[in-house]
Symmetry: D3
Subunit: 321 residues, 6 copies
């Protein structure tokens, strides 16, 4: 392949110059996706948000912050952009005022992504976007596994008198629709106050493994991830990282913060231990710039995205080999 | 009437103490509305927002800021809380994830308000909320007049491929539905870049009087208001004030700011000249706290609300007499 | 009892709607306190602050943030609002310009609270407010125990040439006045630079157990709390939580931050271990909104208040049984 | 006189370097005041504030901002530091927790200033500080004239049930104490809502000339100042500038903002027309940094201070001649 | 020409989606400039800043804000993107740590721009970038005219003991180098304190027409622009707009704000009156995002850029005809 | 010695009053340095910054924050101002627009400091300032040891095509110039993405001991410091603390944050274990106020400076003895 998929270096052009594509990678329109192995995609939509909106602005701020990312992961030695061809595939053209239309638009986009064999690394948007992404990625009769970092299970049934689609319900729907195998779902970092606990009871009743934050703090990252890896096994697995899994002191810019969360060094350590799994995609959601005066949340978010890219690139290379 | 509708005074209890009801007035549940002449109502909803959301948080921040309002308008001598019985009627219970359901809930609330003969002073929310408010207030076959302060006409036809309900379309819909009489609509302060000008052409074609900001600056507040008063006459008239009518240096906390806008002293002067009109309700919309680091926008907003209350109280007293 | 003391649910009405009472509980005037077991009370006063003021604005911001609290503590299973009747009793009507008058007004309010058998969960205000609260709660000849989370001992003698009442002196005064039993006082998290160390020396000389932050970090939450529980025993005990006990990265909005503090998950763990003690009241003080651009401090504060409510509700239920 | 009273130039040492004394002038302890003609003095105290505190932090932020001031007034040609010997005399050592003690400390400081023949240019602090300043400056039986820019009259009688000393009462007290001649008091820019209007009625009844903002906007700066100059005449006159006289879009960092205020270019023009009056001192009060995220209020404040220095230096030179 | 130079519409794809090129125009690399008539160019460099840095971040924030610009100027009826082919040509690859190298890089970039007959609309960066832009654009022996909106003359000779290149000196250098004809230079909005006045004296001595802000306020926009148009005549003229020409309440995000400045509606009116002049380029400089908590300065900046594009597009069309 | 080197106490004068010298110590001009043992010095310069500037404003904000420091280190019992004579020696007079000139000016200042036997505690400024400081302090043929806390090695060779002096290169230069002994360099906290890893490889190849953050987290502060102490031994050693060594949640105000960093309590613990080493100076660099909305970074910075002062004062006392 002739063209380069390497980012522009900050040694050559200052990081504050130029258009902010994700990680300073090439920005490619649909007609130009040939050769791409991992596509970074924005889903600027927050129509499922029940309280504080703003995650629609996440992709742009994440792209901006991502221009400070360099190419080498010093902790693991991985160079993801050298390991797999990565590109910025732009944003899904959503409809901010129509929820059902937006879900359809997002699914259609990921149908395309899947059809071309591209592994998506998505940036939300609120957590409801994971539902149409999974609709695009999961094959009939082959539900995916899920490793899910979050403060909330997002396994609620409905809100406001029976409304089924909010950012608190995507995984309930995904299991109902056969997109996810509940016995291969692991949720890590759950905490905070709850409406009634029905979400947790339901999830556990169908086989979901929930690590409440207290268990994570007591056992440590390595033990948690060892169990998580065993649960999802070597079958196709998706990773969903809600930024509110991180403690709000490190990620204030999100709609539903819960105190007492994961610290970033622990989160990085856990994501690195996804290495070797059969990963088919990942997302980082719920970064909401209007609630972050300093912009630090997006910076945490892109660092998590970089760690996810590192393990995704390994999975791509392994399948390619 | 026995009970008091006067605000708690900052001379007695500090302004930062206590629950922040609008203007420190009594906060009344539906069962308790008897005797109320003007109801201040929050409509915490921004589902019609096409770009930067956050106006759903407007009513709460407006209430907080409103605790700094006192009882006497020094410029006009009006004491609105003494002139008419005012109370805080709470917020309409909207559904943040379902647009059509929310429009229905808002209309139903204002049906109640109208049925009890209460004049509503509403606080948005985005500008689409004015549509269901008008649906509640306007009587069959008796379209209302409108004096509308804004940077935008909100007369667009549709967005995103035919979507009819956004905060850019309420007045197009309201005219189509016979809620407003286009020949008695006055728009003041329109400016900024435009998609194509079709909104302005359409509005003018049906008789709407649009004062672009340049005309306002050239003619001055008094001339503009004299003409506006003549246009709406003595028939029932509604007032809608979009905070983005004000210059963004004075009201940055809004989703669609346009530079070169009305300064507050000019806006105050124009609102005071609504005195004597046959006003049946008013709203102040589009205050979006997440985009206002200092909170000053809400403070501007509640001062405009206070000026609107002063002229509304006069209209109530006049009709009572 | 017929009336409900349960919060309004965010599943029914969005969390950003409605007046922000504490935890969305009923807001009750003095005439309406019958049946209340735990009263949440604001004390919006910071006249004892020697450096950066603003804690007078704490109660309002805490109420606003508290609308994001739900009913179930997922870590412990406690549902405090179901365990005991809780209500928002409003703010003490302080005098911001007169220190001695304010101390008298606060004491009088808590005399009432105590007379009605209500357990107070207070929200400051600066730390001097704990002194008049204790004057109201403590009975003649029956000094209370105290578990006190803070960066500072607040055991100073005087400031500015002999001035006895500041937010650095309340516990010195409380011991002198016989409100607290020094041998049953435990202070946790003390750190930072000091004027001269006299406060610590004095406190230790009368039997106070001080856990400097280094000891807390070395021994861990469980060991600290085991010793603290043993010290206060089963006699009546008050809990005072100064938000500056928390690390300033998690609670920047306070007047006297000290780095190297408690992280929230550790604080939550320690407060949960107050369960089973004979608690007669608690406060959370020194949240100062003007120094918190993101509002996160109030969110930490209300989560601590929720944890305190959980253990207070247990104590109420135990005494009721 | 040998030593220099000129500021450090930004052409020589960058403006962000060095300790921020007022205008980069020499900072002089009491023992070193010889030769000073105009003393710039901080009064970091806000104990009279009835709502939002923070003006105690004003002097430090004003000093910081003042390092961007240069030596020449381009509009008038005045070079105040060349016209009179100016120096930074430091801050009055106030007591933040004791109001009456602080009033006494401030008066004592200004007794010293007056005794040495120094003209004070003070930076508050809340507006109550003007009272003890006037106690220091006014001579027995020789009440001063006053030109007062403000949104509020500060002529209230008392707060919170008879409390006489707040930032809303200084001029009532000053007239009662014979420090000011009410017939030579001019107030400019008054506006906003009022408690009951008693302050305005009282002030007018004793001869105070109040220019409400509407009159200022209608007549213009020149006409207002011509009348103001005629009223105070050539007798000794003090100038008090409350930053909330300026519109809150230009000066958000203050405790009691009122919309529709003076714009800075109008304020500059009015202050310049104080030239030639028999000025004996001036103050700039109510800058409250915690309420100003961008710091712009202090920058407005120091520019007003610079304009005041220009006219003060002219008065000093005239009396010297 | 086949390809489109029209912006992506917010009616089709939400304004917060996609990469933020200037005005949502095509972003073109050097190899792709054919057909471009007006090139929008970022110059992200602030190495000439003597006090508060940050203008290097201007182009990115301006691009982000520019996604809210639509295609029609409602005040003038101009549609600049239809009138001339506009594109985003990216950022000049500067060297943040080497001033002289950066000046050379910028000049080289504009040599290319001029060689291709493209009219540049540039976005700074600090004001020193105008010097190398002019070096690229001005032809030997044919100095340009200049209309310059600013709070400062930028006609200083040197700083810090003889240093010749800072953002306070570009026009002194440009005249010395024969790039500008001093008799055709007009400066509008000059104000604030000055070092010594030598800059103004020098500029006037060589024929520069300086409108101090007081003269602008007294005469009004139309009179000022009529004289300015007469001075530059029909010869080639450049326009340089320093955002600090605008009042800091409307444009706080800049390094050297001066109070009492132009209001935006006046600035818009003046820029519109550049219509019909023989314009060869324009820039908007000194937007410094780190000093603007709300981002409003960039929004003002891109609106000024849009007005400049409107008149530039007219000049392009006129020369094309 | 007669004069006092003790800070002004907050018990006597409130902390917000007075000029903000470092730690409220005497501020001494060059002519007045006699008797000083430790000089606190600002180096307000950021000309070596390759991405986000602003560290030039660090010294002023650090001084302001430092007024909240008291005299006793409660964790160690050290009273540094009593142990050694400390004073604020002001800022080095740098040239913001000329890099090489600034390096020369800084070196000259530290030549003076060294000549007078003063141990410098410096506050940056960006990290390039450490190079000219070391040029001033290191003696010919006697390279210093270094303990360096940072997220980055700052061992890069060059930027932007061969440019040798940026804040990413100081230690490469310092080793080349014989100022540091590479075998006695310890770097602690290195992390984040990297350009290519050449810096780490080079540093290790010449004997530098690098503790990546993962090793620090795994081994703990005590083990790391024990090894670090053994490496530098009892020979003269310098300490350089880049604030970005701290996690960005605790120190957001810096130009190049990297997530997953040191928490403050760990940093404090490590700095305290420098006690007993033969320390000849220290610095705290890269605090950049424009990127810190809450000011907390400077507060962390001055606390680290205080801990460094404690160990420096011990070294001074030891050498004095």
């Amino acid at each position: 392949m002739m063209r380069s998929f390497l980012p522009l270096s900050g040694m050559d052009v200052p990081r504050f110059a130029g258009l902010p594509s994700f990680m300073r990678l090439p920005f490619l329109g649909l007609e130009d996706w040939a050769g791409v192995e991992i596509g970074i995609i924005g889903v600027p939509w927050d129509g499922g948000t029940t309280n504080r909106p703003g995650a629609r602005h996440g992709p742009r701020q994440l792209r901006d912050a991502s221009t400070m990312i360099r190419v080498l992961n010093q902790a693991t030695g991985v160079r993801p952009f050298h390991t797999a061809n990565c590109a910025d595939l732009g944003d899904v053209p959503v409809n901010p005022a129509d929820l059902m239309d937006s879900l359809a638009r997002i699914k259609a986009f990921y149908d395309d992504v899947k059809a071309r064999g591209i592994v998506p690394m998505s940036a939300g948007g609120d957590h409801l976007v994971t539902l149409p992404i999974l609709r695009g990625l999961a094959s009939e009769g082959a539900p995916l596994g899920l490793i899910h970092y979050d403060a909330h299970t997002d396994f609620y049934d409905s809100y406001f008198g029976g409304f089924a689609y909010t950012h608190g319900t995507p995984f309930r729907r995904a299991v109902e629709e056969g997109l996810l195998d509940p016995k291969r779902i692991v949720q890590i970092g759950i905490r905070g106050t709850a409406y009634d606990g029905e979400d947790v009871e339901f999830a556990r009743s169908i086989g979901v493994r929930i690590f409440m934050i207290e268990e994570v703090m007591d056992k440590g990252a390595d033990a948690v991830m060892a169990e998580a890896r065993a649960i999802v096994g070597d079958q196709p697995t998706y990773v969903s990282f809600d930024i509110d899994g991180i403690d709000p002191s490190q990620a204030p810019g999100t709609g539903t913060p819960e105190i007492g969360g994961l610290l970033t060094h622990m989160a990085q350590r856990m994501v690195r231990q996804l290495d070797g799994l059969n990963l088919v995609g990942a997302d980082l959601v719920e970064v909401s710039p209007p609630f972050d005066p300093s912009g630090g949340t997006a910076w945490v978010g892109v660092n998590i995205m970089f760690e996810l890219l590192c393990v995704l690139s390994g999975a791509v290379a392994a399948r390619r080999a």
